[in-house]
């Protein structure tokens, strides 16, 4: 039942948005074509912003994996990971995610290329990237903007929430695909 709902959502989300958003906007008097062009133009700025971190992380993770260091360091965790069915390849993604969103995106893209977009590893990487946040960055920007220095329990909550999201993403992926 829930699986069917998920399937339905995946199949119809994009067609629905494509019809609903422009129609709604047009009815509200928006010049939809011009608005779309303006938004699409921002893609260059977005890519320009994430590109440096992409290069940096792809090189570092590429070297880390090609050297065999990834296997070496994930070996002690291997029995636990294997029992859970959790692929060790995504560990660098989890390590980088709380600090750098674009860095983690680079790792995700690399995993997707290495294993395929529809492989279990590729899907898990995408689900992890999409469901967790750049916690330290968000906290620094938000609190920093108003001069708050004592974050109290916010770091704990943010990191634990990410851990919950990662665990849930793993379970949902295993269940749905």
């Amino acid at each position: 039942m829930l699986g069917e709902a998920a399937d339905f959502l995946s199949r119809w989300a994009l067609p629905f948005l494509l019809l609903f958003i422009p129609t709604y906007a047009l009815l509200r008097g928006v010049r939809v074509y011009e608005a779309f062009l303006e938004g699409a133009g921002q893609a260059f700025e977005l890519i320009r912003r994430i590109f440096p971190a992409l290069v940096a992380m792809l090189v570092a993770v590429g070297v880390f994996r090609a050297s065999g260091a990834l296997e070496l360091f994930s070996a002690p965790l291997r029995p636990l990971l294997d029992r859970l069915g959790f692929p060790g390849e995504v560990l660098p993604l989890l390590l980088v995610r709380p600090f750098s969103g674009s860095g983690a995106l680079g790792i995700m893209a690399e995993l997707i290329r290495q294993h395929g977009a529809d492989s279990p590893v590729g899907r898990l990487a995408a689900a992890l990237q999409g469901s967790t946040e750049t916690t330290f960055y968000v906290l620094a920007v938000y609190f920093g903007s108003v001069g708050v220095k004592d974050y109290r329990y916010a770091v704990k909550v943010g990191l634990l929430a990410d851990a919950v999201a990662a665990g849930a993403a793993f379970l949902f992926c295993r269940w749905l695909f």
Partner: protein
Amino acid sequence: MMNLIWWGLLLCGVGVAVGTGRVEEISRAALEATRLSVELAIGLLGVAGFWLGLMKVAAESSLLQHLVRFLRPLLRWLFPEVPAGHPAEEAIALNLGANLLGLGNAATPFGLEAMRHLQDLNRGSSTASPAMCTLLALNTSSVTVVPVLVLSVRAAAGAANPTDIIAPILGATLTSTAAAVALDRYFRRREERAGRSR
């Protein structure tokens, strides 16, 4: 911290490569990575442009402002110390709504505006108020319906159905948001109890 992680990855990579004699492999991997980053950036440009365009249309239609009305009762429950009708309420609603729709670029300005109003209520203290912690808990776990960049990468990599990742991400973020709200309350109560007994 990213400085240490980045350097650590390179150090371990080169160190292990020297130990295992895979020096040529890592040189090749490094150059391969630079090529991949360009491919990726160009592949992303098209799909990200498409999403950002669609999202801009949504933003112009003030769809968000209409949706956030439904968030009001929820906000009263989440932020009891924010007076009803306070400007902070509006900004928080827009921030959460923008996150929900994957309008990451729009969410941050609304979020920072909300922080400014909450800091007024907090009388400019350098210690976070409970409302700020709740806002951050929601932002670091945010419920995501349209993860723009993830969808873009999947589409650029030739996924059969790039959007089929929406369901697990929505499920995972709903779970983590519920957990974040519960943890936020738990740690706040614990801190208040510890404060009273001191």
